[in-house]
Symmetry: C2
Subunit: 200 residues, 2 copies
Protein backbone atom coordinates (compact mmCIF):
# COMPACT_ATOMS: atom_id res chain seq x y z
CA UNK A 1 0.00 0.00 0.00
CA UNK A 2 1.37 3.42 -0.80
CA UNK A 3 1.33 5.28 2.52
CA UNK A 4 0.42 8.98 2.50
CA UNK A 5 3.37 10.91 1.09
CA UNK A 6 4.35 12.54 4.39
CA UNK A 7 4.56 9.14 6.02
CA UNK A 8 6.53 7.71 3.09
CA UNK A 9 8.97 10.61 3.38
CA UNK A 10 9.39 10.10 7.11
CA UNK A 11 10.04 6.39 6.54
CA UNK A 12 12.62 7.21 3.87
CA UNK A 13 14.48 9.55 6.25
CA UNK A 14 14.62 6.92 8.96
CA UNK A 15 15.93 4.47 6.37
CA UNK A 16 18.94 6.73 5.79
CA UNK A 17 20.09 6.02 9.34
CA UNK A 18 22.59 3.21 9.96
CA UNK A 19 21.12 -0.19 10.74
CA UNK A 20 17.57 0.88 9.96
CA UNK A 21 15.92 -1.20 7.24
CA UNK A 22 12.51 -0.75 5.63
CA UNK A 23 10.54 -2.55 8.37
CA UNK A 24 12.32 -0.76 11.21
CA UNK A 25 11.90 2.60 9.49
CA UNK A 26 8.16 1.94 9.21
CA UNK A 27 8.00 1.04 12.89
CA UNK A 28 9.89 4.21 13.86
CA UNK A 29 7.70 6.38 11.64
CA UNK A 30 4.49 4.88 13.03
CA UNK A 31 5.73 5.53 16.56
CA UNK A 32 6.80 9.06 15.65
CA UNK A 33 3.35 10.12 14.48
CA UNK A 34 2.01 9.01 17.86
CA UNK A 35 4.22 11.62 19.56
CA UNK A 36 2.43 14.62 21.00
CA UNK A 37 2.45 17.90 19.08
CA UNK A 38 4.98 19.39 21.53
CA UNK A 39 7.27 16.38 21.29
CA UNK A 40 7.20 16.48 17.50
CA UNK A 41 7.98 20.18 17.29
CA UNK A 42 10.79 19.81 19.84
CA UNK A 43 12.19 16.77 18.02
CA UNK A 44 12.05 18.71 14.77
CA UNK A 45 13.76 21.75 16.31
CA UNK A 46 16.40 19.55 17.96
CA UNK A 47 17.39 18.16 14.58
CA UNK A 48 17.96 21.66 13.23
CA UNK A 49 19.77 22.84 16.35
CA UNK A 50 22.04 19.82 16.54
CA UNK A 51 23.14 20.41 12.96
CA UNK A 52 23.46 24.17 13.38
CA UNK A 53 25.15 24.36 16.78
CA UNK A 54 27.53 21.42 16.76
CA UNK A 55 30.99 21.72 15.35
CA UNK A 56 34.51 20.45 15.96
CA UNK A 57 36.60 21.68 18.90
CA UNK A 58 39.33 23.85 17.41
CA UNK A 59 41.91 22.27 19.72
CA UNK A 60 41.18 18.54 19.76
CA UNK A 61 38.52 17.88 17.11
CA UNK A 62 35.91 16.60 19.58
CA UNK A 63 32.28 17.47 18.84
CA UNK A 64 31.14 20.56 20.74
CA UNK A 65 28.64 23.38 20.79
CA UNK A 66 31.34 25.93 21.70
CA UNK A 67 34.60 26.85 20.04
CA UNK A 68 36.60 24.76 22.50
CA UNK A 69 35.09 21.54 23.93
CA UNK A 70 34.33 20.98 27.62
CA UNK A 71 37.38 18.73 28.06
CA UNK A 72 39.93 21.08 26.47
CA UNK A 73 38.54 24.03 28.42
CA UNK A 74 38.60 22.12 31.72
CA UNK A 75 41.64 23.53 33.56
CA UNK A 76 41.76 20.61 36.02
CA UNK A 77 42.69 18.25 33.19
CA UNK A 78 46.28 17.57 32.28
CA UNK A 79 46.85 19.41 28.98
CA UNK A 80 50.26 17.78 28.66
CA UNK A 81 48.91 14.24 28.34
CA UNK A 82 47.08 13.73 25.06
CA UNK A 83 45.24 10.56 24.16
CA UNK A 84 45.06 10.21 20.37
CA UNK A 85 41.86 8.55 19.13
CA UNK A 86 40.26 7.79 15.81
CA UNK A 87 36.78 9.09 16.46
CA UNK A 88 35.12 11.43 18.97
CA UNK A 89 32.81 8.55 19.92
CA UNK A 90 35.83 6.82 21.56
CA UNK A 91 35.98 9.60 24.16
CA UNK A 92 32.83 8.31 25.88
CA UNK A 93 34.50 4.95 26.59
CA UNK A 94 37.52 6.61 28.26
CA UNK A 95 35.38 9.07 30.20
CA UNK A 96 33.17 6.27 31.52
CA UNK A 97 36.22 4.57 33.03
CA UNK A 98 36.88 7.86 34.83
CA UNK A 99 40.60 7.06 35.07
CA UNK A 100 41.98 9.34 32.39
CA UNK A 101 42.50 12.94 33.41
CA UNK A 102 44.41 14.14 30.36
CA UNK A 103 42.98 15.51 27.13
CA UNK A 104 42.19 13.98 23.75
CA UNK A 105 43.02 14.49 20.12
CA UNK A 106 40.51 13.22 17.58
CA UNK A 107 42.09 12.17 14.28
CA UNK A 108 38.72 11.73 12.58
CA UNK A 109 40.05 8.82 10.57
CA UNK A 110 43.10 6.61 10.16
CA UNK A 111 45.79 6.45 7.49
CA UNK A 112 44.69 3.87 4.92
CA UNK A 113 46.56 3.72 1.61
CA UNK A 114 43.98 1.22 0.28
CA UNK A 115 41.20 3.78 0.74
CA UNK A 116 43.45 6.59 -0.43
CA UNK A 117 43.50 8.25 3.01
CA UNK A 118 46.87 9.81 3.67
CA UNK A 119 48.32 11.67 6.69
CA UNK A 120 47.06 14.98 5.29
CA UNK A 121 43.47 13.69 5.25
CA UNK A 122 43.26 13.19 8.99
CA UNK A 123 43.44 15.71 11.82
CA UNK A 124 47.23 15.44 12.31
CA UNK A 125 48.66 18.87 11.53
CA UNK A 126 46.73 20.42 14.42
CA UNK A 127 48.23 17.76 16.71
CA UNK A 128 51.74 18.83 15.69
CA UNK A 129 50.90 22.49 16.29
CA UNK A 130 49.41 21.57 19.62
CA UNK A 131 52.47 19.58 20.71
CA UNK A 132 54.87 22.36 19.75
CA UNK A 133 53.35 24.65 22.40
CA UNK A 134 53.72 22.08 25.20
CA UNK A 135 56.77 21.14 27.28
CA UNK A 136 57.53 17.42 27.51
CA UNK A 137 54.08 16.28 26.46
CA UNK A 138 53.02 12.62 26.57
CA UNK A 139 51.12 11.15 23.67
CA UNK A 140 49.05 7.99 24.26
CA UNK A 141 48.08 6.40 20.98
CA UNK A 142 44.75 4.64 21.47
CA UNK A 143 44.10 3.46 17.93
CA UNK A 144 42.50 0.16 17.10
CA UNK A 145 44.85 -2.78 16.41
CA UNK A 146 44.21 -3.05 12.67
CA UNK A 147 46.46 -2.36 9.69
CA UNK A 148 45.15 1.22 9.53
CA UNK A 149 45.61 1.74 13.26
CA UNK A 150 49.15 0.37 13.14
CA UNK A 151 50.01 2.46 10.08
CA UNK A 152 48.80 5.61 11.79
CA UNK A 153 50.62 4.74 15.02
CA UNK A 154 53.88 4.17 13.13
CA UNK A 155 53.48 7.37 11.12
CA UNK A 156 52.91 9.49 14.22
CA UNK A 157 55.88 7.84 15.94
CA UNK A 158 58.06 8.60 12.93
CA UNK A 159 57.18 12.29 12.52
CA UNK A 160 57.69 12.94 16.21
CA UNK A 161 61.01 11.04 16.43
CA UNK A 162 63.29 13.99 17.13
CA UNK A 163 60.74 16.03 19.05
CA UNK A 164 60.67 15.99 22.82
CA UNK A 165 57.52 13.88 23.06
CA UNK A 166 56.98 10.68 25.08
CA UNK A 167 54.90 8.34 22.95
CA UNK A 168 53.13 5.24 24.23
CA UNK A 169 50.32 3.08 23.00
CA UNK A 170 47.57 1.24 24.87
CA UNK A 171 48.65 -2.19 26.17
CA UNK A 172 47.61 -5.22 24.15
CA UNK A 173 46.62 -8.34 26.09
CA UNK A 174 43.88 -10.46 27.52
CA UNK A 175 40.68 -8.51 28.16
CA UNK A 176 39.50 -8.77 31.77
CA UNK A 177 36.97 -11.57 32.21
CA UNK A 178 37.97 -13.40 29.02
CA UNK A 179 38.31 -17.18 28.78
CA UNK A 180 41.84 -18.05 27.68
CA UNK A 181 40.45 -20.94 25.59
CA UNK A 182 38.51 -18.60 23.40
CA UNK A 183 41.22 -16.00 22.80
CA UNK A 184 42.46 -15.54 19.26
CA UNK A 185 46.10 -16.36 18.46
CA UNK A 186 47.22 -12.80 17.87
CA UNK A 187 45.89 -11.54 21.20
CA UNK A 188 47.53 -14.44 23.01
CA UNK A 189 50.81 -13.80 21.19
CA UNK A 190 50.70 -10.10 22.15
CA UNK A 191 49.84 -10.99 25.75
CA UNK A 192 52.83 -13.32 25.90
CA UNK A 193 55.13 -10.75 24.31
CA UNK A 194 54.04 -8.00 26.69
CA UNK A 195 54.08 -10.21 29.81
CA UNK A 196 54.77 -8.39 33.08
CA UNK A 197 56.85 -9.58 36.04
CA UNK A 198 54.54 -10.22 39.00
CA UNK A 199 57.11 -9.09 41.55
CA UNK A 200 56.90 -5.55 40.19
CA UNK B 1 31.18 12.13 28.87
CA UNK B 2 28.37 14.63 28.79
CA UNK B 3 27.78 15.33 25.09
CA UNK B 4 26.85 18.87 24.04
CA UNK B 5 23.22 19.50 25.06
CA UNK B 6 21.84 19.52 21.51
CA UNK B 7 23.38 16.12 20.89
CA UNK B 8 22.09 14.77 24.22
CA UNK B 9 18.61 16.01 23.31
CA UNK B 10 18.73 14.37 19.90
CA UNK B 11 19.85 11.10 21.51
CA UNK B 12 17.00 11.30 24.02
CA UNK B 13 14.45 11.76 21.23
CA UNK B 14 15.73 8.75 19.35
CA UNK B 15 15.54 6.77 22.59
CA UNK B 16 11.80 7.43 22.74
CA UNK B 17 11.36 5.34 19.61
CA UNK B 18 10.50 1.64 19.95
CA UNK B 19 13.45 -0.75 20.04
CA UNK B 20 16.02 2.02 20.25
CA UNK B 21 18.26 1.77 23.32
CA UNK B 22 20.94 4.18 24.49
CA UNK B 23 23.69 2.82 22.22
CA UNK B 24 21.49 2.74 19.12
CA UNK B 25 20.18 6.22 19.83
CA UNK B 26 23.77 7.49 20.01
CA UNK B 27 24.57 5.80 16.72
CA UNK B 28 21.49 7.33 15.06
CA UNK B 29 22.26 10.79 16.45
CA UNK B 30 25.91 10.65 15.30
CA UNK B 31 24.74 9.65 11.82
CA UNK B 32 22.10 12.37 11.81
CA UNK B 33 24.56 15.19 12.42
CA UNK B 34 26.49 13.95 9.37
CA UNK B 35 23.45 14.66 7.19
CA UNK B 36 23.73 17.63 4.86
CA UNK B 37 22.04 20.90 5.81
CA UNK B 38 19.29 20.30 3.23
CA UNK B 39 18.65 16.78 4.43
CA UNK B 40 18.39 17.92 8.03
CA UNK B 41 15.97 20.72 7.29
CA UNK B 42 13.85 18.42 5.13
CA UNK B 43 13.91 15.70 7.80
CA UNK B 44 12.90 18.27 10.38
CA UNK B 45 10.08 19.60 8.19
CA UNK B 46 8.89 16.08 7.38
CA UNK B 47 8.45 15.37 11.07
CA UNK B 48 6.22 18.42 11.46
CA UNK B 49 4.27 17.71 8.28
CA UNK B 50 3.69 14.06 9.08
CA UNK B 51 2.20 15.02 12.42
CA UNK B 52 0.19 17.90 11.01
CA UNK B 53 -1.17 16.35 7.83
CA UNK B 54 -1.87 12.78 8.84
CA UNK B 55 -5.17 11.79 10.37
CA UNK B 56 -7.62 8.91 10.39
CA UNK B 57 -9.84 8.18 7.38
CA UNK B 58 -13.36 9.14 8.44
CA UNK B 59 -14.74 5.97 6.82
CA UNK B 60 -12.35 3.16 7.73
CA UNK B 61 -9.87 4.55 10.27
CA UNK B 62 -6.81 4.03 8.05
CA UNK B 63 -4.08 6.67 8.27
CA UNK B 64 -4.38 9.27 5.53
CA UNK B 65 -3.51 12.82 4.52
CA UNK B 66 -7.02 13.44 3.17
CA UNK B 67 -10.44 13.14 4.78
CA UNK B 68 -11.04 9.78 3.10
CA UNK B 69 -8.11 7.39 2.49
CA UNK B 70 -6.93 6.28 -0.96
CA UNK B 71 -8.52 2.83 -0.55
CA UNK B 72 -11.97 4.06 0.52
CA UNK B 73 -12.01 6.67 -2.24
CA UNK B 74 -10.95 4.14 -4.90
CA UNK B 75 -14.16 3.40 -6.83
CA UNK B 76 -12.74 0.23 -8.39
CA UNK B 77 -12.64 -1.41 -4.97
CA UNK B 78 -15.56 -3.43 -3.67
CA UNK B 79 -17.12 -1.27 -0.96
CA UNK B 80 -19.40 -4.13 0.03
CA UNK B 81 -16.56 -6.38 1.21
CA UNK B 82 -14.94 -5.08 4.35
CA UNK B 83 -11.89 -6.64 5.94
CA UNK B 84 -11.83 -5.83 9.66
CA UNK B 85 -8.32 -5.41 11.07
CA UNK B 86 -6.79 -4.39 14.36
CA UNK B 87 -4.29 -1.84 13.13
CA UNK B 88 -3.75 0.22 9.97
CA UNK B 89 -0.30 -1.38 9.68
CA UNK B 90 -2.03 -4.69 8.79
CA UNK B 91 -3.27 -3.12 5.55
CA UNK B 92 0.21 -3.20 4.02
CA UNK B 93 0.35 -7.01 4.37
CA UNK B 94 -2.97 -7.47 2.55
CA UNK B 95 -2.11 -4.93 -0.13
CA UNK B 96 1.23 -6.61 -0.79
CA UNK B 97 -0.55 -9.87 -1.59
CA UNK B 98 -2.57 -7.89 -4.16
CA UNK B 99 -5.45 -10.37 -3.89
CA UNK B 100 -7.93 -8.36 -1.85
CA UNK B 101 -9.99 -5.86 -3.77
CA UNK B 102 -12.43 -4.93 -1.01
CA UNK B 103 -12.03 -2.22 1.61
CA UNK B 104 -10.84 -2.23 5.21
CA UNK B 105 -12.05 -1.21 8.61
CA UNK B 106 -9.40 -0.42 11.21
CA UNK B 107 -10.53 -1.16 14.78
CA UNK B 108 -7.48 0.50 16.29
CA UNK B 109 -7.41 -2.03 19.10
CA UNK B 110 -9.11 -5.20 20.29
CA UNK B 111 -11.57 -5.86 23.09
CA UNK B 112 -9.57 -6.83 26.17
CA UNK B 113 -11.36 -6.97 29.53
CA UNK B 114 -8.00 -7.51 31.28
CA UNK B 115 -6.71 -4.18 29.96
CA UNK B 116 -10.10 -2.55 30.49
CA UNK B 117 -10.69 -2.08 26.76
CA UNK B 118 -14.35 -2.51 25.96
CA UNK B 119 -16.28 -2.45 22.64
CA UNK B 120 -16.82 1.30 23.01
CA UNK B 121 -13.05 1.91 23.15
CA UNK B 122 -12.39 0.57 19.66
CA UNK B 123 -13.55 1.86 16.28
CA UNK B 124 -16.72 -0.27 16.15
CA UNK B 125 -19.64 2.16 16.08
CA UNK B 126 -18.47 3.60 12.77
CA UNK B 127 -18.39 0.04 11.36
CA UNK B 128 -22.06 -0.43 12.32
CA UNK B 129 -22.98 2.89 10.69
CA UNK B 130 -21.02 1.92 7.62
CA UNK B 131 -22.70 -1.48 7.33
CA UNK B 132 -26.19 0.00 7.67
CA UNK B 133 -25.76 1.91 4.42
CA UNK B 134 -24.70 -1.18 2.44
CA UNK B 135 -26.80 -3.96 0.93
CA UNK B 136 -25.70 -7.53 1.75
CA UNK B 137 -22.18 -6.58 2.81
CA UNK B 138 -19.56 -9.19 3.63
CA UNK B 139 -17.38 -8.75 6.66
CA UNK B 140 -14.06 -10.61 6.80
CA UNK B 141 -12.67 -10.61 10.33
CA UNK B 142 -8.88 -10.67 10.10
CA UNK B 143 -7.99 -10.40 13.76
CA UNK B 144 -5.08 -12.23 15.33
CA UNK B 145 -5.84 -15.59 16.94
CA UNK B 146 -5.39 -14.53 20.57
CA UNK B 147 -7.89 -14.20 23.40
CA UNK B 148 -8.41 -10.52 22.50
CA UNK B 149 -8.82 -11.31 18.81
CA UNK B 150 -11.32 -14.08 19.54
CA UNK B 151 -13.25 -11.90 21.98
CA UNK B 152 -13.53 -9.14 19.40
CA UNK B 153 -14.53 -11.59 16.67
CA UNK B 154 -17.26 -13.09 18.86
CA UNK B 155 -18.52 -9.67 19.90
CA UNK B 156 -18.81 -8.46 16.31
CA UNK B 157 -20.55 -11.70 15.33
CA UNK B 158 -23.05 -11.26 18.16
CA UNK B 159 -24.00 -7.63 17.53
CA UNK B 160 -24.52 -8.31 13.81
CA UNK B 161 -26.53 -11.52 14.34
CA UNK B 162 -29.84 -10.30 13.03
CA UNK B 163 -28.45 -7.89 10.48
CA UNK B 164 -28.09 -8.92 6.87
CA UNK B 165 -24.33 -9.28 6.95
CA UNK B 166 -22.23 -12.25 5.85
CA UNK B 167 -19.43 -12.68 8.38
CA UNK B 168 -16.34 -14.81 7.86
CA UNK B 169 -12.94 -15.00 9.44
CA UNK B 170 -9.54 -15.78 7.93
CA UNK B 171 -8.82 -19.52 7.68
CA UNK B 172 -6.61 -21.03 10.36
CA UNK B 173 -4.17 -23.70 9.25
CA UNK B 174 -0.67 -24.62 8.30
CA UNK B 175 1.30 -21.67 6.91
CA UNK B 176 2.67 -22.34 3.43
CA UNK B 177 6.23 -23.66 3.58
CA UNK B 178 6.00 -24.80 7.22
CA UNK B 179 7.43 -28.07 8.49
CA UNK B 180 4.65 -30.18 10.03
CA UNK B 181 7.12 -31.40 12.70
CA UNK B 182 7.58 -27.91 14.04
CA UNK B 183 3.95 -26.80 14.12
CA UNK B 184 2.40 -26.03 17.49
CA UNK B 185 -0.48 -28.21 18.74
CA UNK B 186 -3.17 -25.56 18.42
CA UNK B 187 -2.37 -24.77 14.79
CA UNK B 188 -2.34 -28.47 13.96
CA UNK B 189 -5.66 -28.95 15.76
CA UNK B 190 -7.21 -26.03 13.83
CA UNK B 191 -5.80 -27.33 10.56
CA UNK B 192 -7.38 -30.72 11.25
CA UNK B 193 -10.70 -29.19 12.26
CA UNK B 194 -10.86 -26.98 9.16
CA UNK B 195 -9.68 -29.66 6.75
CA UNK B 196 -10.94 -29.33 3.19
CA UNK B 197 -12.03 -32.06 0.81
CA UNK B 198 -9.51 -32.33 -2.01
CA UNK B 199 -12.15 -33.16 -4.59
CA UNK B 200 -13.67 -29.70 -4.21
Amino acid sequence: MPYPSDLEKLISYYQKLPGIGEKSAERLAFATIEFSDEEISEFSATLLNAKKNLSRCTICGNITDKEVCSICSNTTRDQNTICVIEDFKNIAAFEKSGKFMGTYHVLNGLISPVDDIGPEDINLSSLITRLSSLTNPELILALKPTIEGEATTLYIKKILENKNVTISRLAYGIPIGAEIDYLDNVTLEKALEDRKKISE
